[in-house]
């Protein structure tokens, strides 16, 4: 039988030797509550914009169908089967020339917390399956973080580098990774995958769009499920739904 008293002593001695993080990080940011309110407001505003956009788009399409006039959108977005089963939303970025279909329970999450420290970054949109409350619980106290299982669509100035260069230098430069070719919306693309922790992997897709680089990325725990039963297949289907003008 294990000598439990000794074990308790060993546990205390050894676990007490584990390093602590800097004391400044012990308590979540003092302004979390206030920022949460601001974020909630931003989420609500983004949702309103999205809903209004969807209504306007639906009205455009309906009017066009009735009158026979050409729909102004250059994007053709074909909903995936899973989308048709569960309802879906369409996000369009006319400024950056893409559209993407997200499942009905997904939404746009404000990502301004991540800042724009990368000078090549022109735009970033975050999509999440988490409810606002779940998202706040996950990220609300550390606003500089990204959330696994969320999808990020970024537009960068590609600075003359090809998609293959981006795929091999973004995360692969410092980590072992797998790079392969694929197509997105009938455009050649590269996909790179690399481990960011022992249990999490980053997957990133790179597509050249003129002088810009479109990057779709997500972090997942392979073999596990994300929020509300999301799987890697869900994310792959969203990525595959992208339409480029």
């Amino acid at each position: 039988m294990l000598p439990e008293l000794s074990i308790e002593r060993i546990f205390r001695r050894e676990i007490d030797s584990l390093p602590l993080p800097p004391e400044g990080s012990w308590i979540p940011d003092r302004h979390t509550a206030r920022r949460s309110i601001q974020l909630t407001a931003l989420v609500l505003a983004a949702t309103v914009v999205l809903v209004l956009g969807a209504v306007v788009t639906a009205r455009d399409v309906g009017d066009a169908a009735a009158s026979g006039r050409r729909v102004t959108t250059p994007l053709v977005i074909i909903p995936r089967p899973t989308c048709l089963r569960g309802g879906c939303s369409v996000y369009r970025s006319d400024a950056f020339g893409y559209g993407i279909v997200i499942p009905g329970n997904w939404r746009v999450q404000d990502s301004s917390r991540l800042g724009r420290s990368d000078p090549s970054l022109l735009d970033r949109v975050e999509f999440t399956a988490r409810t606002s409350e779940e998202w706040q619980l996950l990220v609300g106290v550390r606003l500089d973080l990204i959330a696994p299982w969320d999808l990020f669509v970024e537009v960068h100035d590609r600075n003359g580098f090809a998609a293959s260069d981006w795929a091999r230098s973004d995360g692969c430069g410092r980590n072992s990774c797998v790079v392969s070719e694929t197509t997105l919306s009938q455009s050649p693309a590269y996909v790179a995958s690399w481990a960011v922790t022992p249990s999490l992997e980053m997957h990133a897709y790179y597509v050249e769009r003129g002088e810009r680089m479109l990057v779709l990325r997500y972090v997942i725990g392979p073999g596990s499920e994300g929020p509300h039963g999301e799987t890697e297949q869900t994310l792959e289907q969203i990525v595959g739904s992208i339409a480029l003008d």
């Binding site: 294990l2 060993i10 676990i15 007490d16 619980l137 500089d144 973004d170 922790t197 980053m202």
Partner: protein, 158 residues
């Protein structure tokens, strides 16, 4: 019932932080997850503080463990860490060098949580059962399995 104010809560949390954080590190083996989970427990306490401040370490520990184990509570990562190895490898290596770390490594996360709650935080079976929301018998069985595994690990090592 004693009402815990936000200031008092922060004060109590600070006192318990080192012990609870280290306990979480031993269970989760990931400093980011441990810190995130403990932050969640702090926020949970701000929203709905425990009824009293006795056994606060146990309360924080269990709330944090639950938070870390929830499906949608996968760890989140700083963007600038996404392309570099974090300090997790160092913690893993440190834990693997430790006798306790090696013993815990062979257990499931749930077993680790209960073992650490008992041997490090000093909770008894009844308290662990209450915090985890399971029967005392379940705690006893889980701990018995964990101890058997640790014994086997000790035997294999010697």
């Amino acid at each position: 019932m004693v009402v815990i104010t936000a200031e008092r809560w922060a004060e109590l949390y600070r006192v318990e932080f080192p012990r609870v954080y280290r306990a979480l590190l031993a269970v989760l083996r990931d400093p980011d997850r441990a810190l995130d989970a403990l932050h969640d427990a702090f926020v949970a306490g701000l929203r709905r503080p425990p009824a009293h401040d006795a056994d606060l370490a146990g309360w924080l520990f269990i709330v944090a463990v639950r938070s870390a184990r929830r499906g949608f509570r996968l760890p989140s990562l700083p963007l600038d860490l996404l392309s570099v190895k974090s300090g997790n490898d160092e913690i893993e290596a440190l834990l693997d060098r430790m006798e306790v770390g090696r013993l815990l490594a062979g257990l499931s996360e749930r077993q680790r949580a209960m073992v650490v709650a008992q041997f490090y935080l000093g909770l008894d079976h009844r308290e662990i059962a209450r915090h985890f929301g399971v029967k005392t018998g379940t705690v006893s069985a889980t701990l018995a399995q964990a101890k058997a595994r640790m014994r086997a690990e000790v035997r294999n090592a010697s």
